[in-house]
């Protein structure tokens, strides 16, 4: 028995099945985490190898090259790049999006094993490092303090970090720029010399008098005691009185030689928030954890913790990824809500009946809820993409229910009772309802097969729309007829006293009085227009083709830019500023204050300005990830939210750029407004070539050339400038004569300049380093360094300059390689222009440039990703077109008919182009998503119309009349589909919430496209049909008659009967 019959005969089962679906869906919805984008592992793995003592070139030849050559054969590898610098080689491997990184990691491990023996002996074992989304901070909080600042690290660790660690799903919590307590013993070398004490003696004395030791147990009488030496310092001032040396009756104490300072560590990594000393609290989450939940929990807990902290400790949010997410999700939820409302209103307007509207509207929540179940099953989240997809789906899910309900209503209007009407009404249309759904499915299913970066965007769209539409069809042929059989009312009839049937007069509501005549007039008007157009086919086609060609002008004239993903205004920007190489960190700090003040002056919108600079020298491997160093600072600016300011973040960024341009001390800077995991939009100029000088020169040339291109900003050169270094060059003979070795001397120098670790000072269970070294003024110039005292094995004091020279050297830059060749990359950010336009401009310059042999210059970066994705999209479009053709051709059982619809699709794009052009929106991946959706709508409407024309012709109407009648009869369904989708997109296109930049292009594209595609369906499709069809081709009788010519034979019945009779007579005789 067919599904709809079962549904009608078993209404309770049917209702309860859908109730179960809704409950499951709401349960899933409650469990779904909220995130910005679908979680996808970034396909990067890096291999890091330390090669102590080697310089960049050596690392390149002996480590990076060897590893690259081997790793290049790992399966699924897309691109291999490497950076070789002093002591360190980092190889970054990029894989195809969506590839299995665990497998790749195993592969990498075995390839490393294969070449490990070929690496230099001093190399450490290569370390494989995988990026994951849990490394992106969820929250960054600026903590500032006045008098508590020196103890801030301890306060935060004890009160905040431990407390927050208990939150479910929280990952790593780290403090950046926390002041560390250090005890410095600053020695005066002149005093050391006069007392005949070496730095090492001081260090050992300090270390040796700072002990707690057990000295065995003592038995006395009946008791037994533990004996201990309790010599550890209780106060740091005790160090002053430590005796270093005794000269007869005189003793030399530390305070005679040095100043002991119990203080915080000299600047290494400095963090300032709004110009005040502070610490950045960086909070990360575990992979797959709910960002929004964690952010809320952290904020709640912080409110509580704040009360227990000293009064001068202030906390300010610098970055909260959850606000972006919440804003975006709220914005989209609002759009979905409006879409739902509009769809219901449109249905109500066209049908004019509450009950019917309710039955149809019920399809929407059930279909949406099915999508939630899908998201829950595949461990995904509620995110921008899934919600955009739902908005897209809303307009489509009602279509099937409308078709079914309309047909049932038609039966009811003929006087059938609702139950029979539901059965037979559904029976008549259910096959074609499934067929149209199939078209939508073949448009959206291929999206799930995409590879590359677009996977993130399109996979979910494909699945969600497919699932929603399939669910809606299931609902339309089960729940809808069931509800119609129960809720629709048959016409009430009675028998009057004459025994005649009278229909009790239908109440004439305002709807019947005003709307129906209006709609009827519209139908009639359209039929007239269509007839006129059919009489002037050529003219109409010429006008429409003319409009189409005109609409292409903005594309070829470059008036419509293209982006990968539109930049979002998240009220955040990151400013990276690089000063002259070798600038000391205190100087950088002073410049940073200056820059902060300038920024504050020109951006009254700024809420928090926080700056980080310098680096933690002890951090080792972690320093690789540090964005800052002694001459590089990162300033984060958070402004008030978008609706509270007049300037967009892009305008503010531009103003800051202008200001930074004026500062001569800045070498390069980059003002980035991109946030989250999608990265920024840059065009990269890649210059491949072995020779440093040549490629450096070309890079310089291009920087100057590109500077003049309008809209090119933030040009950064990936190859860092050569930097100066101080090297100690020994005179081997003198060194040997003094009895010293290179390693001994380097240790002496290190102890005096960097400091000698002389144990720890313990307080409240924490340990603080004690560092012995020379006072700063005795180690801050070449002369003083050459004067450093060294102790020979014979106890003599000699100066460093007696055995060595200290010289300034230029040290080679770090070496970057890509595709196993040396490379320089110039990244350019487009401002006020699009990625595509900028890339084209730059390509022109590259073509005009005379590139020497052995050097290749090409464009890469986001632009390349975009090109690759667009290529994928074109392939995808081809696949979709083919599948749609197959479905349509089999539905019409005709090779030619699908072309009518196929040929109309390009015209829909002119609507997209015009809409983008008028609103000045750039074409990006999200707009492309809208364009694909349009293909679905155009095709669906086209099928509805062509199918109906076929039907009318089969029913014997003449071609022209069939077309006009079909148009008239299908006008309302087509308008309904158009309006539901159109109005569903309006809130999206007009939305101003944070992050709305992302989906506005889609709203604009779809609105433009829908308007165009509706006109196409209503005008072009009928005209193309009439051009491609021949009169009478569908007259099957004529066809059949041709092959059966027996009707025209002579009538020989009488003759044959006579012959038969004669034969019978003969036989009898």
């Amino acid at each position: 028995m067919a599904i709809y019959k079962t549904a009608i005969t078993k209404p309770i089962t049917t209702a309860l099945i859908f109730v179960a679906v809704i409950i499951l869906g709401l349960f899933s919805l409650k469990q779904l985490p909220i995130d910005q984008f679908p979680e996808i592992e970034p396909p990067y793995i890096s291999v890091m190898t330390a090669y102590p003592g080697a310089n960049a070139t050596e690392v390149e030849t002996n480590v990076s090259k060897v590893l690259e050559n081997s790793l290049n054969s790992v399966d699924g590898l897309k691109e291999i790049t490497s950076t070789s610098k002093d002591n360190m080689s980092v190889i970054l491997m990029e894989f195809e999006w969506g590839s299995n990184l665990d497998e790749a990691t195993n592969d990498i491990r075995s390839y490393i094993d294969m070449v490990y023996d070929n690496l230099p002996d001093e190399c450490t074992r290569p370390f494989i490092f995988k990026f994951s989304s849990s490394m992106m901070p969820v929250l960054q909080i600026a903590v500032t303090a006045d008098e508590s600042y020196p103890g801030l690290e301890k306060i935060l660790n004890d009160n905040v970090v431990n407390d927050l660690n208990r939150i479910d799903g929280i990952g790593n919590i780290s403090l950046s720029g926390a002041p560390q307590r250090y005890i410095y013993i600053d020695l005066d070398p002149k005093k050391l010399e006069s007392y005949g004490v070496s730095l090492e003696q001081v260090g050992n004395a300090v270390k040796g008098n700072n002990l707690n030791l057990a000295s065995g147990s003592v038995k006395m009488g009946k008791e037994q005691y533990q004996m201990r030496v309790q010599g550890e310092y209780v106060e740091s001032s005790e160090i002053n009185d430590i005796v270093v040396k005794s000269l007869g009756t005189k003793i030399v104490k530390v305070k005679d030689l040095a100043v002991v300072r119990d203080t915080i560590k000299d600047i290494a990594l400095e963090e300032k928030m709004n110009g005040k000393d502070g610490v950045r609290l960086i909070i990360m989450k575990q992979t797959g954890a709910n960002t929004v939940q964690i952010a809320t929990d952290v904020k709640e807990n912080l409110e509580r913790i704040k009360k227990t902290l000293p009064a001068d400790v202030k906390m300010d949010m610098i970055y909260d990824s959850s606000t972006d997410i919440i804003n975006a999700i709220n914005g989209l939820s609002e759009s979905i809500f409006y879409a739902l409302l509009f769809v219901v209103l449109v249905v109500l307007f066209f049908l004019g009946r509450w009950r019917a509207t309710i039955i149809i509207a019920l399809t929407i929540p059930i279909s949406l809820v099915a999508a939630f179940i899908y998201l829950f099953v595949v461990d995904s989240s509620l995110n921008i993409i899934s919600l955009c997809s739902l908005t897209v789906a809303i307009g489509m899910v009602v279509d099937d229910a409308i078709v079914v309900l309309e047909n049932i209503s038609k039966h009811v209007d003929r006087g059938e009772n609702p139950r029979e009407a539901a059965i037979y009404g559904t029976n008549e249309v259910w096959v074609s309802v499934i067929a149209t759904t199939l078209v939508i499915v073949v448009v959206f299913m291929p999206l799930t097969m995409l590879t590359g970066q677009a996977v993130i965007l399109f996979k979910q769209l494909g699945w969600i729309v497919t699932i929603c539409v399939v669910t809606s069809t299931t609902v339309a042929i089960s729940l809808t007829p069931m509800l119609a059989s129960k809720l629709l009312k048959g016409h009430e009839v009675s028998i009057d006293k004459d025994g005649k049937l009278v229909e009790s007069s239908q109440r004439m509501g305002w709807y019947d009085k005003f709307v129906i005549p209006l709609l009827n007039k519209l139908d009639a008007w359209y039929a007239n227009v269509l007839r006129t157009c059919l009489r002037h086919k050529l003219l109409t086609i010429l006008v429409i083709v003319g409009i189409f060609v005109l609409s292409l002008i903005p594309v070829f004239s470059g008036a419509i830019g293209s982006n990968f993903i539109s930049d979002q205004d998240n009220s955040m920007m990151n400013i990276t500023i690089e000063l002259q190489r070798g600038t000391r960190v205190e100087e950088t700090s002073a410049i940073a204050r200056n820059i902060e003040n300038k920024i504050r002056e020109i951006t009254p919108e700024a809420l928090v300005i926080s700056t980080a600079l310098g680096s933690d020298d002890d951090a080792g491997m972690a320093s690789l990830f540090n964005a800052t160093n002694n001459n590089k600072m990162v300033t984060r600016v958070r402004t008030v939210t978008k609706d509270q300011r007049d300037r967009s973040i892009f305008e503010i960024a531009e103003a800051i750029r202008k200001e930074l341009d004026k500062m001569p001390e800045i070498i390069t800077y980059n003002v980035s407004t991109a946030m989250g995991n999608m990265g920024s939009n840059t065009v990269d100029v890649e210059i491949y070539g072995y020779d440093f000088k040549t490629t450096n020169r070309i890079a310089e040339d291009f920087i100057n050339i590109i500077k003049d291109i309008p809209g090119a900003r933030d040009i950064t050169n990936s190859r860092e400038q050569d930097r100066t270094e101080l090297q100690i060059i020994f005179d081997k003979e003198k060194l040997a004569m003094s009895g010293l070795t290179e390693s001994a001397v380097s240790m002496y120098v290190r102890n005096r300049v960097n400091g000698m670790a002389a144990g720890y000072f313990k307080e409240d269970g924490e340990e603080y380093d004690i560092i012995v070294r020379l006072k700063e003024e005795f180690r801050n110039n070449l002369n003083e360094i050459e004067n450093i005292d060294l102790m020979t094995p014979t106890g003599q004091n000699i100066k460093l300059r007696e055995v060595a020279q200290v010289k300034e050297y230029w040290c080679p830059p770090e070496i970057q390689r890509k595709r196993r060749e040396r490379i320089v990359t110039l990244s350019v950010t487009p401002v006020g222009t699009s990625l595509g336009e900028l890339a084209q401009e730059i390509q022109k310059k590259i073509d005009a440039y005379d590139v020497p042999s052995g050097v290749i210059v090409q464009i890469g970066g986001t632009y390349q990703d975009q090109q690759e994705t667009f290529q994928d999209m074109v392939l995808l479009l081809a696949l979709i077109v083919m599948l749609v053709y197959i479905v349509m051709a089999s539905q019409f059982e005709s090779f030619a008919k699908p072309f009518i619809i196929m040929m109309s699709v390009p015209f829909a794009f002119s609507g997209v182009i015009l809409a983008l052009f008028i609103t000045g929106t750039n074409f990006d991946m999200i707009a492309a998503l809208g364009a694909i959706l349009l293909v679905g709508i155009v095709v669906k409407n086209g099928i509805v119309l062509v199918d109906y024309i076929n039907l009318m012709r089969d029913r014997g109407y003449e071609l022209g009349e069939a077309i006009a009648l079909s148009g008239q009869s299908r006008l309302r369904p087509v308008l309904m589909t158009a309006f539901t989708t159109l109005l569903g997109m309006v809130p999206m296109a007009l939305s101003t919430s944070a992050g709305s930049e992302l989906w506005i292009p889609m709203g604009v594209a779809v609105i433009g496209g829908i308007i165009a595609s509706t006109i196409i369906t209503l005008i072009i499709v009928p005209i193309l049909y009439s051009l491609m069809a021949r009169h009478g081709e569908r007259d099957k009788n004529a066809e059949v008659q041709k092959s059966f010519i027996f009707m025209r034979m002579n009538d020989t019945l009488d003759e044959d009967r006579r012959i038969d009779a004669e034969q019978n007579n003969n036989r009898l005789n």
């Binding site: 006087g415 059938e416 029979e420 029976n427 089969d954």
Partner: protein, 98 residues
């Protein structure tokens, strides 16, 4: 002494036809659920195809002569009630039966 009445009607009339037979006290019948057809004067074809999606049902019942007239009159009323659906009846003479 008996007549065969062949009733053919739009599927959507099925319930009403059976109700009518019960009301008139006619018990026996033979029923074809799905038959195709086309009316002689007007009326759309019923082919269950894409072009003509509707279907007819048919029923033959043997009734005594005196019931035929009442049956035909009732069927005519049913037809008047919903002319678009349509119901037709044709009467044969039954020669013999076992």
């Amino acid at each position: 002494m008996a007549k065969a009445v062949f009733i053919v009607y739009n599927q959507a009339n099925t319930e009403k036809v059976f109700y009518m037979l019960d009301e008139l006290g006619i018990r026996g019948y033979t029923f074809w659920e799905q038959v195709q057809g086309r009316g002689s004067q007007n009326g759309e074809p019923r082919h269950g195809s894409h072009t003509w999606p509707e279907m007819n049902s048919a029923l033959i019942t043997m009734v005594s002569d005196d019931k035929v007239d009442e049956l035909l009159r009732t069927i005519h009323k049913l037809d008047k009630r919903q002319e678009e659906l349509g119901v037709r009846a044709f009467v044969w003479h039954v020669e013999n039966y076992v």
